[in-house]
């Protein structure tokens, strides 16, 4: 391992501490402010209260936005699981013309600016599909999220598939298992944790997506991030925004934490 002098260690430690502070203190402020009694966020907090949590809990627009976020997130995750896993298998198990191109095309949407994806899908929905009578509506938003969620499942599953010893599948078939039994009893358990980790990451990615959602959400439909954006224009609701933001933070942190633990658990077993 790399050996560092005491001074270097101290300097590096300080840089890391500053970087982490810059990332997490603002988030921390949001969480703390959500418990402020004041209508406007201010520092220091004069009085603590859960009043905004109570208001947020009974707010009809927030409930609707949360429901939309969950539905879109789950829908996009299901699409990502099915397509991402199938593509990962195709690329890992078979050789075919254009294999590298397919790999690139699947991964590209995650690197593509959301605004490009958003505009492209919006144009397609409104100027191509609608004139010929296809109303994608809500489903169009789910598909839009699916485009970049696939990568999460695809990358995780592909990485794990590459590490499966191919002879254990042969051993299974040799011992009399049909291809289906082999998949269920041997292959799937080998990449199950990568599959779940990919699903969680896909959901987290969809849950806080803004740009693509703006361009593909049907009129009058808000997801949580969209609702927050709209509220920013009305500062007297700022504390309500802090509550919702806190929920989004938790909803993003927990899945990432769980998926990391899953990935680590699988590594340790090998």
């Amino acid at each position: 391992m790399l050996r560092l002098s005491l001074g270097a260690k101290f300097t590096l430690g300080t840089i890391v501490a500053i970087a982490l502070a810059f990332m997490y203190i603002p988030l921390f402020l949001v969480v703390i402010n959500s418990f402020s009694a004041a209508r406007l966020s201010s520092w220091p907090i004069a009085e603590f209260s859960t009043i905004w949590w109570e208001k947020a809990f009974v707010s009809e627009p927030i409930r609707a936005a949360l429901l939309n976020s969950v539905i879109v997130g789950l829908g996009a995750t299901v699409i990502a699981l099915i397509l991402g896993t199938l593509v990962a298998f195709a690329l890992q198990r078979y050789t075919f013309f254009g294999k590298q191109t397919v790999n690139l095309l699947v991964v590209l949407p995650i690197a593509l600016p959301g605004i490009v994806t958003g505009v492209a899908l919006n144009n397609t929905y409104n100027q191509v599909l609608e004139p010929i009578g296809i109303e994608v509506g809500y489903f169009g938003m789910i598909i839009a999220h699916g485009t970049f969620c696939i990568v999460m499942v695809f990358n995780n599953v592909l990485a794990r598939l590459r590490r499966i010893n191919p002879s254990i599948e042969e051993a299974s078939r040799d011992l009399g298992a049909t291809p289906l039994q082999t998949f269920r009893l041997v292959t799937f358990p080998q990449f199950r944790s990568a599959f779940v980790a990919g699903a969680i990451l896909a959901f987290a990615l969809s849950f806080d997506e803004v740009v693509v959602t703006i361009f593909t959400a049907p009129p009058g439909v808000d997801t949580l991030p969209l609702w927050i954006m709209n509220q920013m224009a009305r500062p007297n609701e700022a504390s309500l925004v802090n509550v919702v933001a806190t929920v989004v933070i938790l909803a993003s942190f927990i899945p990432v934490w769980v998926s990391q633990r899953l990935a680590r658990g699988a590594d340790e077993r090998e």
Partner: protein
């Protein structure tokens, strides 16, 4: 071959003997590369047959075709008299012990051993009984609840064997099963394998690149080279009477004697231990090939000493003598000594 077995029913009557494996004109190509070329091979029921050859000689491909993991490009494979050329691996009455053991990492040892019974729909209780017996056979009952990665190489090897044998296959295929073990453990496992094969009495087809292992274990050895079988025979036959230069060289040290020096005017091979080393003034005996020469090097190997003799005919001959008790061989001759080397013509094998 297979057809004739059906036409002339032997003592097994109309049912072909279970455990017979017959390959007829089997070829396998991967793109431009020919891995196996027009192979004919018949394995008798209950036989321990080794497929011996260097890596890339096609032996593992043949094993994988018998197991069903690879399709044949042409030709046919019969198991116990039934054409299985198009039968998928899970429907063939053969089981395989893999080179890397291929134990299922997420199953316990007991679940690994019972896997074949499980997918066949055997009840949990019956499975537990059979797995218990199988583990006892390989003396590993104590590790039933462990995971494969918690076992040593030798233990994994025995579990792989138990897992394959629990289904009572007609033929067991073994793909260099001892390759990953250290020398001492390998020799123990060789003995154990031989005993198990005798107990269960089924056909073993054993792939190895270790000539000593093949000679020690097998009833017959098929020597592979470049996708072809160079020679099939008992250990004694392929060692003492190699049919080709490749076989002579691959199975230990060999002296290749050019045609003009051989008794019958054909190129031949003589094993070093069959070469007698005599003082130069000894007269040549009848029925031998006898050459005069000078010792250019002596090599002490432990049980034997090898003498490299440059003969007057220009051929270098290696003679090997056991370092057995009185006047020990290693002191009998030294570098620069004039000697006579000779061998009985019976001990020379013509090489085609």
């Amino acid at each position: 071959m297979h057809a004739s077995a059906q036409q002339a029913p032997s003592e097994t009557d109309s049912t072909p003997a279970p455990g017979a494996v017959s390959l007829a004109g089997v070829s396998k190509t991967f793109g431009d590369f020919t891995a196996v070329e027009a192979l004919d091979l018949d394995v008798k029921p209950g036989e321990f047959l080794s497929m011996l050859g260097p890596s890339g000689s096609g032996k593992t491909t043949v094993l994988r075709m018998i197991a069903g993991f690879e399709n044949v490009t042409s030709g046919s494979i019969h198991l116990s008299g039934v054409d299985v050329t198009q039968v998928p691996p899970h429907a063939r009455q053969v089981n395989t012990v893999f080179q890397d053991y291929a134990l299922f990492p997420h199953f316990t040892i007991a679940e690994n051993v019972g896997y074949g019974l499980r997918v066949a729909g055997v009840s949990r209780a019956e499975r537990a009984t059979q797995v218990g017996v199988a583990l006892e056979q390989v003396r590993l009952s104590a590790v039933a609840d462990r995971l494969p990665h918690q076992l040593s190489g030798g233990q994994r090897q025995r579990i792989a064997l138990a897992r394959a044998l629990i289904l009572r296959p007609q033929v067991l295929l073994l793909d260099e099963p001892l390759g990953a073990l250290d020398k001492q453990l390998r020799e123990e496992m060789q003995i154990e394998l031989k005993q198990i094969q005798r107990e269960v009495g089924i056909t073993f087809i054993f792939v190895t690149h270790d000539q000593e292992e093949a000679l020690t274990l097998s009833d017959r050895v098929a020597v592979f080279n470049n996708g072809r079988v160079e020679q099939v025979g008992t250990a004694r036959e392929v060692y003492e009477f190699p049919a080709t230069e490749f076989v002579a060289k691959f199975l230990g040290l060999s002296n290749l004697i050019p045609a003009e020096l051989s008794a019958d005017g054909v190129q031949s091979s003589v094993r070093p231990e069959r070469v007698r080393l005599l003082t130069a003034d000894t007269a040549a005996s009848a029925g031998t090939v006898s050459l005069l020469g000078t010792v250019s090097e002596t090599v002490y190997t432990g049980p034997t000493t090898r003498f490299l003799v440059d003969t007057e005919s220009g051929v270098r001959v290696i003679a090997e003598r056991a370092n057995d008790h009185h006047p020990s061989a290693e002191s009998a001759f030294g570098r620069g000594d004039r000697v006579r080397v000779e061998w009985t013509t019976d001990h020379a094998s013509q090489i085609g």
